[in-house]
């Protein structure tokens, strides 16, 4: 187990190294740099003053130097500063990260808490009304653009209740209710797609598992249908959900941007999108790497969890 973890972490490191190189090169391929991007209604381009500024920002250094500076900083715990605002990234992330993370986790929780029972019900009552309801939810959920849904939700709550979620991050430790109130709508919006996905997946695997020989064995023992479903089928059906959930956490983390834009939340996605529009290399690179790290880490956790739940999987 320890060996397995060590090797996986090493692989993770390699992957992230690859990501870092790719993203580093990609952002530098983009037309325009941070100075061009910050021109507003004035004329951009090259001038003496700008060139001096470029030099000061380190943009004039050879690429390998820039890359190693970045990596060296990361390794020594220095995330660097935003090229645009000069604000240390550590500061920016300290508010953006918890907010986005919480939205995502809340969203995932909603997706699992609703998606799994719905999927199970749909499978067990396959072909009956509840199945069609579940499948309809599953279908509609994956076909709604999230930004559209978010806009709709905002307009509805603001018109109907005269209320909108606060866009400031309220620490869950200080004001749990306020925190929940602020983040529940965004979380709901991002959860819809995953909820539908989980529902469909649980339904499909459940149908499959219900046809397995060991479920027949359980029935042959004389176990009640409920026991068969919960004790014998569900546990096996949930195995792939672990993998997909971890995967989705990574995907959601990277795609909350749209929701954050609509709700005006200063989260990670917003930071990233702004960073890209601003050509703030430091922000893009570091946030992307962070997202990639979370993604691979989640997958690693999923693999370990899978092995813990499924005794057949050996971690070597």
């Amino acid at each position: 187990m320890a060996r397995y973890l060590a090797s996986r972490v090493a692989q993770l490191g390699l992957t992230l190294l690859g990501v870092s190189v790719v993203i580093f090169l990609l952002v530098r391929l983009l037309p325009g740099d941070v100075l061009d991007a910050s021109s507003g209604d004035t004329v951009a381009g090259s001038s003496e003053g700008r060139d001096a500024l470029r030099e000061a920002l380190g943009l004039a250094d050879p690429l390998p130097v820039q890359y190693f500076d970045w990596i060296k900083g990361l390794v020594t715990g220095d995330l660097g500063v935003s090229l645009r605002s000069g604000e240390p990234l550590a500061n920016l992330l300290s508010t953006a990260l918890p907010m986005t993370l919480e939205i995502v986790l809340l969203g995932v929780a909603i997706a699992l808490l609703v998606g799994i029972p719905l999927g199970v019900l749909s499978a067990v009552r396959s072909g009956r009304a509840i199945d069609y309801v579940g499948r309809a939810i599953g279908m509609i959920g994956v076909s709604l653009p999230s930004f559209w849904l978010a806009t709709l939700m905002l307009l509805v709550t603001s018109s109907a209740f005269g209320w909108v979620p606060s866009s400031t991050y309220i620490s869950p430790f200080e004001d749990p209710l306020g925190n929940l109130a602020a983040l529940i709508l965004p979380a709901l919006c991002i959860s819809v797609y995953m909820l539908a996905l989980v529902m469909r997946m649980v339904r499909a695997t459940m149908l499959e598992v219900l046809g397995e020989d060991y479920v027949r064995t359980a029935r042959a023992k004389g176990a009640a249908p409920r026991t068969v479903v919960v004790r014998h089928a569900l546990r096996n059906a949930l195995l792939p959900v672990i993998t997909v959930s971890a995967f989705e956490v990574g995907v959601l983390l990277a795609s909350t941007a749209l929701i954050e834009v609509v709700f005006g939340l200063p989260g990670l996605g917003n930071l990233l999108v702004q960073g890209i529009f601003n050509r703030d290399y430091a922000v893009i690179q570091t946030v992307t790497l962070l997202l990639a790290a979370t993604f691979v880490l989640m997958n690693l956790i999923a693999d370990v969890l899978y092995a813990l739940v499924d005794p057949r999987v050996e971690l070597r």
Partner: protein, 300 residues
């Protein structure tokens, strides 16, 4: 997830031989005869029909801004007009073409790239596999949105580039699925038999491996088609997708958000269009998956 090992035994649309003659007819295989599959197929076909023939049936120019702005639905404009006074129906019809094109091309790029990587990795194994899969890991770990934005930024926002971006972003998923399907095909004795007969690697990949991973590939492609249409909408929302004046549903939707309260229909129709198509594609995908998964097809 279980690898769809024996999926290969059924084709989505079988070419059935009628007797000994070379005459063939394409028939709907039984799995496509379920109500869900028929619904999905009809929606998809209808969309294709609208995309292809729509402009001849509803001849209003989707670009002409010559009517009053933000009109509610009427006989002249069954879906109303948009904020510039263009006919929404004409734009929805034209948007079908764009959305389908984006969806199909993006998925095409992803499937092509992904299956190439997946097949080669699975076939050659060892370091080829390791190297390719590490590469795929890197690509996978890069947030799709970032990738898309970067491609759009790099090549300028446009429909083509959105398709390319989405395609590249989805390629790793295809690579993995194809690889795992191909790996299970690789354990099939007929692969070893081909080797025993001295068949070359390229031929083996082309004749034995590829046709037998088609089924999971088709299923995956059908599901991702919907996702790609949504992704294009999201890119358009950020101003990076299909560019005006071309009407893509995503673009229409994102510009219509401003008018959701003033004239909701501007946002409703393209939204509905997206939903219906994604729904159709998903229904079809589900039917294909159910049909191609021998376990769900009733046990022997």
């Amino acid at each position: 997830m279980s690898a769809p090992a024996t999926v290969a035994t059924a084709a989505e649309v079988e070419v059935g031989a009628t007797g000994a003659s070379a005459r063939r007819r394409v028939r709907l295989s039984p799995m496509l005869r379920t109500p869900i599959a028929i619904a999905g197929l009809s929606i998809v076909l209808l969309t294709v029909f609208v995309a292809v023939a729509g402009p001849w049936i509803w001849t209003t120019d989707p670009y002409a801004a010559d009517a009053a702005r933000l009109q509610p639905p009427s006989w002249a404009h069954p879906m109303g007009t948009d904020e510039l006074g263009r006919d929404t129906l004409a734009r929805v019809i034209y948007g079908a073409r764009v959305s389908l094109e984006v969806g199909l091309s993006a998925v095409g790029v992803a499937a092509l790239l992904g299956s190439l990587i997946g097949l080669v990795a699975a076939f050659y194994g060892r370091w080829v596999d390791t190297a390719l899969m590490r590469f795929v890991d890197v690509l996978f770990a890069l947030p799709a949105l970032v990738l898309a934005i970067v491609v759009a930024g790099l090549l300028g926002p446009s429909r083509t580039n959105a398709m390319l971006a989405i395609g590249i972003a989805y390629a790793p998923a295809f690579a993995r699925v194809v690889r795992s399907a191909a790996l299970s095909v690789m354990t099939q004795p007929y692969i070893e038999a081909a080797r025993a007969l001295g068949t070359s690697s390229a031929t083996t990949i082309r004749r034995h491996l590829l046709p037998n991973v088609m089924a999971p590939l088709v299923v995956m492609a059908s599901t991702y088609l919907g996702t790609a249409i949504l992704a294009e909408a999201s890119l358009s929302f950020l101003g990076l997708g299909t560019q005006p004046p071309q009407p893509s549903w995503g673009g229409m939707l994102s510009s219509a958000r401003t008018y959701m309260l003033v004239s909701p229909w501007v946002a409703i129709f393209p939204g509905l269009a997206i939903m219906v198509v994604v729904l159709g594609v998903n229904l079809l995908g589900d039917a294909l998956r159910d049909g191609l998964d021998p376990k769900l097809r009733g046990r022997r």
